[in-house]
């Protein structure tokens, strides 16, 4: 790889580039990693990351691939155990670029305390991948008796978001061809398993049932709206959101205003939406706010019996409108 260079054999890449970045577990290389889970249920998830560009304000495709998959596990209330990482490299990708991304992944995994234990690399011809595609699968342990899921949402639930929305999408847009603009907004990519653990602990520590946290979702593609609509539809509950309560930083609002986008539909990579039993939401909210990744947590609405499957938002003027997921790629509105 590299300009005019030949291909580097996969084993060399693993030895010289990936292993040092991820930290070798010391054992022999295997096709699959064997992990001691103890008794109980396993959460398993996989996701592919094809973001373009590979580097954006505050992050890279690598840390996105680590945090995103950890967060999918966290949405089941699982304690993440380990990750796999599969790489599809486009011929011509600079070794330095791959190295920087691998280092970023290793750091993210170390910070999260969730190791990358096995992986794979393949090289495809030019034009076969946008530089680099990454797939990560994650495995975690779900504590006994925990049954968090979108179907558990119930009328009356308080809906909490863990902090500012719209940051990741704006950060990516700011470096896209043709619509670049200056911004201080950086991606919010972060692992949220410790946040979720704190939320559940705030209940179990007081002898309460952790299942008072009914549903969790990370609002990635499609933004806050997609996450809330999906839970509402799955559970057959209606939702009422208060527009004034949704935390949108001015930097995100101004970028979206300028591009003609709705912050509620913009992707996030370090946020969680939770549907919580109203009698216990204060404790859960306090626990979220006590952690750095949940410092901006706020109650933004509630689930209701009426209009099941539909999400309605109340404007600051007291008027209402239905919110829906936007279809496909967001095209900046101009005219």
């Amino acid at each position: 790889m590299g300009h005019g260079g030949g291909g580097i054999l996969s084993e060399e890449l693993i030895e010289n580039l990936f292993l040092p970045a991820f930290g070798s577990s010391g054992g022999p290389s295997r096709d699959s990693a064997v992990l001691d889970t103890g008794a109980g249920r396993i959460a398993l998830t996989t996701d592919s990351y094809v973001v373009n560009p590979l580097f954006f304000p505050g992050g890279t495709i690598g840390d996105l691939a680590v945090n995103g998959t950890i967060n999918d596990l966290a949405c089941s209330g699982a304690q993440p155990l380990a990750l796999t990482a599969g790489f599809i490299l486009e011929e011509g990708l600079e070794v330095d670029v791959l190295g920087a991304i691998a280092q970023a992944m290793g750091r993210a995994a170390a910070d999260a305390g969730v190791p990358v234990v096995t992986g794979d690399t393949k090289v495809v011809g030019r034009g076969g991948a946008d530089g680099l595609f990454i797939n990560t699968a994650g495995v975690g342990v779900v504590p006994d008796g925990l049954r968090i899921g979108p179907e558990q949402a119930r009328p009356g639930d308080h809906i909490i978001v863990s902090g500012n929305i719209g940051e990741h999408g704006v950060a990516i847009m700011s470096v896209r061809e043709g619509i670049d603009f200056g911004t201080t907004v950086t991606t919010d990519s972060a692992p949220l398993h410790r946040l979720v653990a704190a939320m559940l602990a705030s209940l179990t520590e007081r002898g309460e049932d952790p299942n008072h946290v009914h549903a969790l979702r990370d609002p990635t593609r499609g933004g806050l709206v997609a996450a809330v609509v999906e839970i509402a539809r799955t559970a057959g509950v209606g939702v009422e959101l208060d527009e004034r309560a949704i935390p949108v930083p001015e930097t995100v609002a101004s970028a979206c205003g300028f591009l003609g986008l709705d912050p509620l539909q913009v992707a996030n990579e370090g946020k969680m939406v939770a549907f919580v039993d109203p009698a216990h939401s204060a404790a859960v909210l306090a626990a979220m706010r006590s952690r750095p990744e949940g410092a901006g947590a706020a109650i933004i609405g509630r689930a209701v019996e009426e209009h099941p499957g539909m999400v309605v938002i109340r404007t600051p003027f007291g008027t209402t409108r239905v919110v829906e997921r936007e279809l496909g790629e967001q095209l900046p509105r101009i005219c």
């Binding site: 603009f181 200056g182 911004t183 201080t184 907004v185 208060d242 004034r244 309560a245 930083p249 001015e250 930097t251 609002a253 101004s254 970028a255 205003g257 300028f258 003609g260 109340r314 007291g318 509105r333 101009i334 005219c335």
Partner: protein
Amino acid sequence: MCLGIPGKVMEIWEESGTRMSTVDFGGTTKTVCLAYLPDMEIGEYTIVHAGFAITRLDEVSANETLQMFADLGILEEELSGTEGQASRETA
């Protein structure tokens, strides 16, 4: 018509004979062409559409309008006779 939002001119320079600027829209900055506002100055506000500054935003006028709204708010409270009207809105 069309998306035109107000921003503050932060920097001005010349590019191939055309006056260009950096405009700040509350934390988001963009390069904007000033060709149609030749006497625009740094620190002034403008309304930007499709990459062009199309008008100066008159801050005095803006504040007069806002004052008029504030006065109207007070008037309405008096007319409807109840002090706490403004806090009637609930979530």
